[in-house]
Symmetry: C2
Subunit: 225 residues, 2 copies
């Protein structure tokens, strides 16, 4: 049937349009000197806990704001607001990921004038958020110890699109007889360039290293301006 009709790759065109919008967001962020981080993970991997620790450590240095993306509920945004952090809650109304349009909507509501670093806490999901460029300058993800070492084998794209992969809840390593070397090897198999940081928000292990990585990225972004 070739040549008889036009074949339209709908999914591809959706991704292309999204990528275009994401690039436009990055151009705006660059112009304003604002860094946007997209933080991703499975449900319950410790995104919110790490976020609160990160803000505590970096807020003397940067004006930080948070966008909490959830399908429903607002418990994370409530926690952020209680901490005195500039926060907005984004409801995806059932959708499993944030895309460039939704992220831009959030940024427009938040405003880019009095802020240096914005962190988007994406929907807890190892699949779909990886497919949509949000317009963030960098992607970071958490893989928690209780999830097991094999997740990079099963959810490749998430590991491929993340510049920093944190292995979280390392304080539970003895409990789960977790093989940290195997986990790192599996991550490396998907992304040889990613910075890998084992950490525990509970014991503090690795949190300083993570904050340093993030700080360095924010500074590099500012220098590009």
């Amino acid at each position: 049937m070739e040549g008889k009709y036009k074949v339209i790759e709908v999914k591809q065109s959706v991704f292309a349009l999204n990528a275009e919008k994401a690039d436009a967001t990055r151009a705006l962020l660059k112009e304003k000197g604002v860094f946007l981080l997209n933080l991703m993970a499975s449900p319950g991997a410790g995104k919110t806990t790490l976020l609160r620790e990160t803000i505590k450590r970096l807020s003397p240095k940067y004006r930080i704001a948070v966008m909490e993306a959830d399908i429903d509920g607002s418990c994370d945004a409530d926690a952020m607001a209680r901490d005195g952090v500039k926060t907005i809650q984004l409801h995806t109304c059932g959708l499993c990921h944030m895309d460039a349009d939704m992220t831009r909507h959030g940024l427009d509501e938040l405003g880019l004038e009095d802020v240096d670093l914005i962190i988007l806490e994406n929907i807890g999901n190892l699949v779909c958020p990886a497919e949509f460029d949000t317009g963030a300058v960098r992607n970071a993800m958490l893989l928690s110890v209780p999830e097991g070492e094999d997740k990079p084998l099963k959810y490749p794209l998430m590991f491929q699109v993340s510049q920093c992969v944190m292995i979280s809840k390392t304080d539970t390593i003895p409990f789960f007889s977790y093989d940290l070397a195997k986990a790192k090897e599996n991550i490396r198999g998907r992304n040889s360039e990613a910075v890998i940081i084992p950490l525990s928000a509970r014991t503090g292990e690795g949190v300083e290293e993570w904050c340093r990585w993030l700080s360095d990225e924010v500074e590099a972004w500012k220098r590009m301006n």
Copy 2:
């Protein structure tokens, strides 16, 4: 612009078509006296481990087969095959959920002649699998203790469509200072009818109760034939 053009709810029609196909699968399963269970959870909540325990306990009673759905990889299917279980691996090629068509494809490959109970291990994801009826007779899900008590607030649909909600890895309750009563209350808030079973595949707690629930459902389905 009302009345000027036809508005087509694309997503709704996708769901309607999927529901129709899922009903057709259930009709076929009923005719053949085969029970299909759709098992869902976040990545790493313990689906495969529970599945292996379930098969050990129920295989004297039923002829069991497994469909392992993954985006990539085959480590779960390999484990099942090593256990001597009739298994097929379904690759969704990037897709975040199983739908009725994909499930039917798997069932056709597996064959419905020499089997009583088929368990579909869905993609590890608390969002999208809940949106698509696979044609299963029953949905069951695992919420693991390390994920936290608040997940029913954030991922409502998954809890609403599951007839059985297991709270897994209960042996980690002391470690995470987990509030089991709060978790149950949050599940109840989304689904007052669901059977809730706290369990640990490691200690064996609750596994018998889960197998009894599943057995009772299989028997009830057979009686409907």
